[in-house]
């Protein structure tokens, strides 16, 4: 079976970004916190591929260390929100009736709030930091995953093999674990990739507004906000984190699209 091009490209970009993030824990070209005022605001050259920032730190090193922050927060938030949302969605699909109305009503309420606004509120309550960012982003993943998993699970519940499992005396929890979850998993994985991309954007937005991790922990969003004032003097300062965000989000979206193509039932398994 031939793999979709978007899957290969998306997986490659994502692997490079995740690789850079992991690598930054043990090695970066320079110390991302080491200042060198003499070498401030240098344009990209052989020594500093992405140039230096207003206090002379190596931008490439900050970007790599920032990848760990951004990807870490985005993946944790998506994992937590995805798990909670999927659990709610499959429960709603299995129970039906009042439980289902309750879950979907709760979803509607969450959906009605603009995420950034609620994140700022949450930041005001909890103070800025990684936990705030993960909570704020994760909470807004819940309705997305609840809706998708419920819709997918309802389709599975209508299959005859579910009736067969019920005739085998299995209860709703067992049927959900053995039949429903494995069959909706491809759709959930696709969504995990796409939502991680959106979470990167959200994390950057929060950091830009000062609700993300605090300095000196590097963060793409804060790099963007800090480089605004130097836009004319040192455009590379904006380009580096901007491109890092754009390329990572693009990679995760391509990965999600590719996975969707791969798991499309109309592909390969026809007939």
């Amino acid at each position: 079976m031939r793999l979709p091009k978007s899957l290969i490209l998306g997986a490659a970009i994502t692997a490079i970004m995740v690789g850079a993030a992991v690598l930054s824990r043990v090695w970066t070209p320079a110390d991302p916190t080491a200042m060198n005022i003499v070498a401030r605001l240098q344009a990209p050259d052989a020594a500093h591929w992405f140039g230096t920032d207003p206090i002379g730190r190596d931008v490439l090193s900050i970007i790599m260390a920032g990848a760990w922050t951004s990807l870490g927060i985005a993946m944790l938030a998506t994992a937590i929100g995805g798990a909670a949302g999927t659990l709610l969605g499959v429960t709603a699909a299995a129970r039906g009736g009042r439980a289902e109305r309750l879950v979907m009503g709760f979803n509607g309420v969450l959906f009605a709030f603009p995420p950034i606004l609620s994140a700022i509120l949450l930041g005001a309550l909890m103070g800025p930091g990684a936990v705030t960012a993960i909570t704020a982003i994760g909470v807004f993943m819940v309705p997305v995953f609840a809706r998708i998993s419920r819709a997918a699970a309802i389709q599975i519940w209508a299959r005859d093999y579910i009736s067969a499992a019920r005739m085998a005396g299995k209860n709703d929890i067992r049927i959900t674990a053995e039949h429903v979850l494995p069959n909706i998993l491809p759709q959930i994985i696709v969504q995990l990739a796409i939502q991680t991309g959106l979470a990167i954007l959200s994390e950057a937005g929060l950091s830009f507004l000062g609700m993300g991790v605090s300095p000196p922990t590097p963060s793409w969003g804060r790099m963007l906000s800090e480089s605004q004032t130097y836009l004319a003097a040192a455009p590379h300062l904006v380009l580096a984190p901007g491109l890092a965000i754009a390329v990572t989000v693009l990679g995760l979206n391509l990965l999600g699209d590719g996975l969707r193509d791969l798991t499309d039932p109309r592909r390969g398994q026809a007939g």
């Binding site: 299959r159 005859d160 093999y161 009736s163 067969a164 019920r166 005739m167 085998a168 005396g169 398994q269």
Partner: protein
């Protein structure tokens, strides 16, 4: 006199629809004796599948009772119903929808053993599944494969093997051959007849196809709009239908042996 294997008494199932309601089943009574094959025929929407689901305890009737080997299945506690389920199993219409695509065939066939805490495990379970696969004309090694590796007819054999693993006394086949082409249909019908003869299973065979009834059933009940309009021994109903509806069904039936021509209505 022997006890009926399946006794459906005055069964009704109503579904609310807008202001009114649909009578999917309306005062249906049926009796199936052990080792007999009872055909239930009727057009789409006549209530056949609702009947099958209620007989299998997958849905509850609005009123009436279902007795399997003398036990009223809706009067049983959930625990006793679980135990009773070993006695009745079902084969579904769509062999593509009735097998979980993510489970291996061995796991699919062994699923009803969940009902039986004393069921064999490990090596013995593999042997049991392998024997059943051979019983239905497949290979014992097929249990390690996935459903998508099989054709429709082979999948239906897998579904039948699953239905047989608890050694049920009653098998409900809901349009079990309707999705298959004619030669495969004949093989599956042959298999059901063999199972009846070898294992003494009673079969409730639900179909819209009178040609199939003609080939395997001992008796037949004709359903229309949730009611049974005519029932009796198969030959009597097929050769001397009393109801105009049954006669219309018979006239509309393309015969397997006269391809392209319809059976002339008998002069009455």
């Amino acid at each position: 006199m022997t006890q009926p294997l399946l006794q459906v008494s005055r069964l009704s199932r109503h579904f609310p629809l807008g202001q009114g309601m649909v009578r999917a089943l309306d005062d249906v009574s049926l009796t199936l004796m052990p080792e007999q094959i009872l055909g239930v025929v009727g057009e789409s929407g006549s209530g056949k599948s609702t009947l099958a689901r209620i007989v299998m305890g997958l849905d509850r009737p609005t009123s009436g009772s279902v007795r399997i080997a003398g036990r009223d299945i809706f009067a049983l506690s959930p625990r006793h119903l679980r135990q009773a389920r070993r006695d009745f199993q079902m084969v579904f219409q769509d062999p593509y929808g009735s097998l979980d695509p993510r489970h291996r065939v061995g796991r699919i066939i062994a699923e009803p053993l969940h009902l039986d805490t004393t069921a064999p495990k490990g090596r013995d379970r593999r042997d049991l599944v392998g024997r059943l696969l051979r019983d239905v004309g497949l290979d014992a090694a097929d249990q390690d494969r996935f459903p998508h590796e099989f054709s429709g007819g082979q999948r239906q054999r897998i579904a039948i093997a699953r239905a047989l693993i608890t050694k049920p006394r009653l098998l409900v086949a809901d349009e079990a051959t309707s999705a298959l082409d004619l030669t495969v249909q004949k093989q599956i019908l042959r298999l059901i007849l063999d199972l009846r003869d070898e294992h003494g299973i009673g079969v409730l065979f639900i179909t819209h196809n009178l040609g199939v009834v003609d080939q395997i059933c001992d008796s037949v009940a004709v359903m229309k709009d949730g009611r049974i309009v005519e029932s009796g021994p198969m030959r009597q109903v097929m050769d001397h239908p009393a109801e105009p509806y049954t006669r219309r069904l018979l006239e509309a039936e393309p015969r397997l042996d006269v391809i392209g021509r319809k059976v002339r209505p008998k002069p009455s």
